[in-house]
């Protein structure tokens, strides 16, 4: 046999030896592949959004949440809480005997420390701002009691410190952090969750291992949990096929392919609303979008059903209310009636433009970018541009990435230009917080609305403690947003998560940025 053939044969044998399909994970390992870890930090005070997926396994929150987004006395470190009659003193009763991963016991001192840290200078969490303005003092009358004293009467404290929003409610070990410093904590975090941090390679994975017994989960079913960052979708799916991964987020366009091959798909219904808006000028709306008819025309030109069916593969529903979130609608009793849904009516759109004096059309810039959880971003932008071209609006696509768009939006350097986001669905408090930043003129930077009537209503919500009044205000806000066409709400998207065939039952829940993977570990 010639040397060359010998070499080839040898190589083939070696390859054959190395290749062994990793059969479905033994029950002791759970691996999750995600397309993005967002900020990838393991310190809850540093960006609290997408990272909840893995933070919720290592840490516990002061107030628990059910997968349906309701506050739960069984799910958090506070087994019960109540407020004073004037809603300015909130008392939380803590569980006893909960231990951090380093063995120390969780007390009210840790809760106070964690909250102060979440509101501190170094923190970049989502709701630190409102908490800073609201919270006056934190008292610790007993090791199992914390009292939060607010400057104004408010209802939002338990929700803001719960699992349903961001990470401000996560309880961290005071002694450990004070002794070792923030830097060590960011590299070796310690919490009270069912899983202990083992290692993190930034840009690659996060590994954690089970504690012996957890107060909420019991003895965790999986000995080890690994989160893997796999940006390319084909690779995530290949990992799923090979059994190397038990859960993977997939794009809507590949759901049919996976279902055909027998992989269970868990849909988070209406996980986000794809909402587009016009960037404001330094003093508010600029022509031509300052004319209500133009805004309505641009809405009527879009065939939402076609977009839902084609770009989102049918895993989307038309949306009708600018910045409206269905999980919040439920809370405040807002009903979307059929007449609120935008029809697909390019003829009427053209007429509205003519009425506004723009029969010859005009030019509009459309920023095109991808977002985590929204791989269809660019195709979506192209589709919008296409629809608008058909009613005589010359649309120029400007490809950027999100940070670049954000800069244009916040600096107000491109008035009238269109951008979008897949806004995560959330309960009414979260929805209010969103509106207070994106629909409220005094918030300056991020405002997209600039409407004094909306401003007035939102300002009242913050100060109200009567739920009924709050609900009414919120309903009116949504009605006004819709009647004034303060944006282009396009579709609600469902997000698919593919699981391995052996994973079993799993309810990913409807809580913002959380997949309730810890529930999988419950026996």
């Amino acid at each position: 046999m010639t040397t060359t053939s010998r070499i080839i044969l040898l190589s083939l044998l070696v390859l054959a030896g190395m290749a062994s399909p990793a059969w479905a994970q033994t029950k002791s390992e759970l691996t999750v592949a995600l397309s993005s870890f967002s900020a990838e930090t393991v310190d809850p005070a540093l960006q609290g959004h997408n990272v909840k997926y893995y933070l919720s396994l290592m840490f516990d929150y002061l107030v628990g949440t059910t997968p349906e987004g309701q506050p739960s006395q069984a799910g958090g470190l506070a087994s019960k809480w109540e407020s004073s009659a004037d809603h300015k003193r909130w008392t939380f009763h803590l569980r006893r005997g909960v231990k951090f991963h380093d063995g120390t016991e969780m007390t009210s001192e840790d809760v106070k420390f964690s909250l102060q840290r979440a509101m501190g200078k170094r923190s970049t969490t989502g709701y630190a701002g409102p908490l800073r303005t609201l919270i006056g003092d934190i008292e610790t009358p007993a090791p199992d009691r914390v009292v939060i004293v607010t400057k104004e009467p408010t209802l939002i404290i338990p929700t803001y410190l719960s699992r349903s929003l961001s990470t401000e409610g996560i309880v961290l070990p005071k002694k450990y952090i004070e002794a070792n410093g923030d830097d060590v904590f960011a590299r070796k975090p310690v919490g009270t969750g069912p899983y202990k941090f083992v290692e993190q390679v930034v840009g690659s994975h996060i590994k954690m291992t089970a504690v012996d017994n957890h107060w909420r989960i019991g003895v965790p079913k999986y000995k080890n949990v690994t989160f893997r960052l796999v940006p390319e979708e084909t690779t995530r799916i290949a990992l799923l096929r090979r059994g190397e991964v038990d859960v993977a987020d997939v794009s809507r366009e590949r759901v049919k392919e996976l279902e055909k091959d027998g992989f269970p798909i868990h849909m988070r219904k209406e996980e986000a609303v794809v909402h587009a808006w016009w960037i404001l000028g330094p003093d508010g709306r600029t022509p031509p979008t300052n004319d209500k008819r133009v805004r309505e025309a641009l809405n009527l030109a879009i065939d939402r059903n076609e977009i839902a069916q084609s770009i989102f593969g049918g895993y989307a529903e038309p949306a009708a209310i600018p910045m409206g979130l269905t999980w919040a609608f439920k809370d405040v009793g807002f009903k979307v009636t059929p007449d609120m849904m935008y029809a697909y009516d390019p003829a009427r759109a053209k007429k509205l433009l003519a009425d506004a004096g723009l029969a010859g059309g005009f030019s509009i810039d459309v920023y095109a970018f991808q977002l985590p959880g929204f791989p269809e971003g660019k195709a979506f932008a192209e589709a919008l541009a296409g629809y608008w071209e058909k009613i005589g609006v010359k649309s120029k696509l400007i490809p950027v990435d999100y940070p670049a768009f954000r800069k244009m939006w916040v600096d107000r350097k491109a008035p009238g230009a269109v951008g979008y986001y897949n806004i995560a669905n959330r309960d009414w408090i979260g929805a209010y917080a969103l509106l207070e930043k994106q629909g409220y003129t005094p918030s300056k930077l991020n405002d997209t609305v600039n409407d004094p009537e909306v401003d007035g209503m939102l300002a009242q919500v913050m100060r109200q403690t009567d739920r009924e009044k709050i609900n009414a205000l919120m309903r009116n806000v949504y009605t006004r947003l819709r009647s004034e066409h303060h944006g282009v709400p396009v579709v609600f998207v469902h997000s698919p998560y593919a699981a391995s065939k052996t994973l079993g039952k799993w309810n990913p829940g409807s809580v913002m940025y959380d997949l309730f993977l810890d529930e999988l570990a419950r026996k």
Binding site: T124, D183, R242, N446
Partner: protein, 306 residues
């Protein structure tokens, strides 16, 4: 010889200094990292606080001086996004890139060798042509396309090999092959022409006259001499592989330098961008230096740029 090395080293340092200014300016031109780390609803005050906290509000000259001063000691600052020392991130990722590049070199040589030898020995025939085409194919297909097709079919459907990650020898095969195929053409060409030259030379003619078997002539004598340029170019190819692996790293979720650079650029993480560019530049410069020294050793004519 020592003078040569010394001067080359000096030249490399000057080049690096130029590069440090360029990359400092470029990194800051990309935009504002705060948009990525602060939540969507951050206020102007939040921005000001974060800027001060991260030292981004100091004058540029001061930032540059701080950057260079610390870089010399190996401190590349703290990643704005990960809030961890950049040197740690480099320590996690650089070995992975080096290992993958080494494996890819191995694959590349393993393919280029038989192709180059066959092409030289059977020069001018269909075999020569076919070998040339196979080699050049590796440069004629977009890398990410090859990678994705391999992941989908070899890993996903046939399940012969792992799809991603850096666990175990088997996971090196697909990314290593994808990366290596790209440089096969260059190597094969060198081998082929090197061998052709040697096979025509007096030295080999003499060996043949002396009755040495053709097999020995090819494999021992010709190959040995053709290897020298290949070996020195392997060094340069290695540096190229390390620096251009970003596409392969993305598809195969390989935690290497390329992906670190990509994440750094997309999140406007200045310290990371600066560090990765500098480190790759140092790597390339180091490899070039070694190659030039080897050549200077072989051929004194080059020592002074003649």
């Amino acid at each position: 010889m020592v003078r040569f090395v010394f001067f080359r080293l000096l030249q490399s340092l000057v080049a690096l200094a130029i590069l440090s200014v360029v990359v400092f300016v470029l990194a800051r031109a990309t935009g504002d990292p705060l948009h990525m780390i602060l939540p969507m609803n951050a206020s102007a005050e939040d921005y000001a606080n974060a800027r001060a906290y991260l030292g981004l509000d100091r004058p540029y000259l001061e930032q540059y001086a701080s950057f260079v001063g610390r870089a010399i000691t190996g401190d590349f600052g703290t990643s704005i996004r990960a809030r961890r020392p950049v040197i740690e991130l480099l320590q996690e990722r650089l070995p992975n890139s080096l290992k993958l590049a080494a494996f890819a070199m191995g694959v590349s040589l393993a393919i280029a060798f038989p192709l180059g030898v066959m092409a030289a020995v059977r020069r001018g025939t269909g075999v020569d042509r076919a070998a040339q085409i196979v080699a050049v194919l590796g440069q004629s297909l977009p890398t990410f396309w090859v990678a994705i097709v391999l992941v989908e079919f070899v890993a996903g459907r046939l399940q012969w090999l792992p799809a991603g990650g850096a666990d175990g020898l088997a996971s090196y095969v697909l990314p290593g092959f994808t990366l290596g195929w790209f440089v096969v053409a260059g190597m094969m060409r060198l081998l082929r022409s090197g061998m052709l030259e040697v096979l025509d030379s007096e030295y080999v003619k003499l060996a043949r006259l002396k009755g040495v078997a053709e097999r020995r002539v090819v494999w021992v004598h010709a190959l040995k001499n053709a290897l020298i340029p290949v070996v020195t170019f392997a060094g340069i190819y290695f540096a190229i592989l390390v620096t251009t692996a970003i596409v392969v790293e993305t598809v195969f979720a390989w935690p290497g330098l390329g992906r670190l650079a990509y994440d750094g650029i997309t999140s406007r993480d200045f310290p990371v961008i600066q560090a990765v560019v500098l480190v790759t530049a140092i790597l390339v410069a180091a490899v070039n230096l070694c190659v030039d020294c080897v050549y200077a050793l072989i051929d004194p004519r080059i020592r002074y740029g003649q």
